[in-house]
């Protein structure tokens, strides 16, 4: 009898530890690419297929926010962390581009994912010292804060390009609220368990998607002001630069 009671107690304890079966987790993995190949840094070998311009890539930093899943009725389901706070991400050259959403997503079929490259105005102009150590918006983590005047650079991309045979630098720092970059990637997102969604970031599209951008003609430098609109044109291209690769089961 005593053994039976002990066994029942163990079973009850084990059941109490079973995760909520109604919720799923998601890992978002983004792979930096150029023409379908891994984005190679520090090499003047990247040829933009539409314009024929040749690039060397040195820096790709970006801040992402406003992650959400698209539900079958078309509504947005904002993704949150363990504490119920919005999820932010900082992608940079030397680290894997991964965003982990804890097991708090209602199990269901979704039709796509949305996020923004950039921040809302509250976060953009808020006190940057508020973010804890290691947080993507901590300026010592991302080095994308403009300084005491406030505001972040949403995306910083830099490198060199061939200009009539000469190696010249290019630099685009995309900032200001007008240049927030909303991204939506559609696909059959069956989230009835732990899943990994793999996306590509197709860097070549920054120079040819909605707009054609050629450093030699449109300007090779921008900090998003007094640039003839080149930063805005690139920001529009960024919205088209992410593509679906695969949805994988995670054990």
């Amino acid at each position: 009898m005593r053994n039976l009671v002990l066994f029942s107690a163990l079973v009850a304890f084990a059941l109490s530890c079973t995760p909520d079966a109604t919720e799923a987790s998601l890992e978002l993995q983004v792979l930096p690419k150029w023409n379908g190949q891994d984005l190679a840094y520090s090499s003047m070998t990247l040829v933009q297929p539409e314009t024929g311009d040749t690039f060397q890539w040195e820096r790709s930093d970006m801040l992402l926010s406003e992650f959400a899943l698209i539900q079958e009725d078309g509504s947005r389901l904002p993704l949150v962390d363990d504490a119920g706070d919005p999820i932010y991400a900082f992608f940079s050259k030397d680290k894997p581009w991964v965003v982990t959403v804890p097991k708090n997503i209602p199990k269901a079929n979704y039709t796509g994912i949305e996020f923004t490259v950039g921040l809302d105005s509250v976060r953009n102009f808020g006190d940057p010292s508020q973010w804890k150590v290691g947080h993507p918006l901590n300026p010592t983590v991302n080095n994308l804060h403009w300084g005491w005047q406030g505001g972040y650079i949403f995306m910083a991309i830099e490198g060199f390009y061939q200009n009539s045979g000469a190696r010249e630098p290019w630099l685009y720092h995309i900032a200001t609220m007008e240049n927030r970059m909303p991204v939506r990637v559609n696909g059959n997102l069956d989230l009835r368990g732990a899943r990994r969604l793999v996306l590509n970031w197709n860097a070549e599209k920054l120079f040819y998607a909605i707009n054609e951008v050629r450093p030699s003609e449109d300007g090779a430098f921008s900090h998003s002001t007094f640039d003839g609109g080149v930063a805005h044109r690139i920001s529009e291209n960024v919205t088209q630069s992410f593509s679906w690769v695969a949805l994988e089961n995670v054990k």
Binding site: S42, E58, R59, D127, P128, S129, W131, K132, V133, G134, N138, P139, T140, N143, H145, W146, G147, W148, Q149, E158, G159, F160, E168, P169, W170, L171, A220, F221, H223, T225, F226, D227, G228
Partner: protein, 352 residues
């Protein structure tokens, strides 16, 4: 019963050992507007650890002939640099080849030395001990000296609960001390908090500092903020700012072996810059005006691996600032001086 007896004996044996004394958490004074500093989780700041680290920092026992300490080349009256010297002189009279770096707000740094060859402060702090052109000693000999000293044995016991001094804990103690050297009480900081005003010249300098070197901008700036922006006045990156057409010091490239890193050096914070002449990794510029003049008209577009962010400046053949603007820029840089490093007793030599 036998196991119970054994357990009891083991418990008694443990109980008879001397427990390390409790340590006191060190309350780090983080300047307002600074982000929370990432203190290493495996080396929390304690009063005992910080004070031990300070003692080691200023103790010449770290050098082979006991004539030089870390403080010899990192003086509080010079923003923790070496008395305005271009290169420091080691115990043998050997002259170094890089300018002594300022030591403040190091908690935010992720690589140390001009070339980034140390990933942590604990690693960095042991480097000069064995450098033949600096202290020319060996860490093992320092460990032996400290173990022979009852005062140090007691201090290490109190700070880390270890009976025998070792190299790891020497590094950890000095790391703790250097992490406490925070600097954020300059005139600029008081201005940013609304407590003090800048002069019209300093305001012009600030405007230029934070303005783009964009030829299309109605007010063309000096573009300093791209590399020296943010609360800490550095982007913590390694860059080539176009000093030379031929690289003679590979900098980061010698550490990584990557040809694309040749000629890149750590971007220093501009806080306390007026305290720390001469400037650049090799101390080639004696004054801030010389530095401004370099960016104004002396950059080399064909410098290997020059950073793309120098592009706007180089395309225009330099900043093109007039004398009044250059003087204003220097005036603003002078507002970044924080005299508390010089006056804070916590940072001073305990042997004095």
């Amino acid at each position: 019963m036998k196991y119970f007896a054994l357990a009891l004996i083991a418990l008694m044996a443990v109980g008879c050992g001397e427990n390390p004394p409790p340590t006191t958490p060190f309350a780090l004074n983080v300047p307002q507007s600074f982000p929370p500093p990432p203190i290493p989780e495996d080396n929390p700041l304690t009063v005992e650890g910080v004070l031990l680290g300070r003692r080691l920092f200023y103790d010449p026992v770290l050098s082979r002939d006991s004539t030089q300490s870390c403080g010899s080349c990192h003086n509080t009256s010079f923003g923790m640099t070496d008395h305005g010297l271009r290169f420091s002189v080691g115990i043998t009279g050997a002259i170094g080849d890089r300018n002594s770096m300022p030591l403040h707000n190091l908690a935010y740094h992720t690589a140390f030395f001009w070339d980034g060859r140390a990933a942590t402060l604990r690693e960095q702090s042991l480097g000069p001990i064995e450098n033949p052109i600096e202290m020319d000693h060996s860490v093992s000999a320092v460990v032996a000296s400290l173990n022979a000293n009852p005062v140090y044995r007691e201090l290490f016991w109190k700070a880390f609960g270890i009976k025998s001094v070792d190299a790891e804990h020497i590094g950890l103690a000095m790391e703790q001390f250097m992490l406490t050297i925070m600097s954020g009480s300059s005139k600029f900081d008081r201005f940013a908090r609304g407590l003090e005003s800048l002069t019209p010249e300093e305001q012009l300098g600030m405007q230029l500092f934070n303005g783009e070197a964009n030829p299309n901008s109605p007010l063309r700036g000096a573009d300093c903020f791209h590399c020296h922006g943010g609360t800490l006045f550095t982007n913590h990156k390694f860059m080539n700012n176009g000093l030379d057409t031929v690289i003679t010091d590979p900098g980061l490239g010698a550490v990584t072996g990557n040809p694309n890193d040749m000629g890149k050096f750590k971007v220093p914070s501009l806080r306390n810059i007026a305290y720390t002449p001469p400037y650049m990794h090799d101390g080639r510029f004696q004054t801030l005006m010389e530095v401004v003049d370099f960016y104004n008209s002396g950059t080399h577009a064909n410098s290997p691996n020059i950073d793309p962010s120098m592009g706007d400046i180089i395309r225009a053949g330099g900043l093109g600032l007039n004398l009044q603007q250059r003087l204003a820029l220097v005036a603003f840089l002078n507002t970044l001086t924080d005299t508390s490093i010089e006056s804070d007793t916590l940072f001073q030599n305990p042997f004095n």
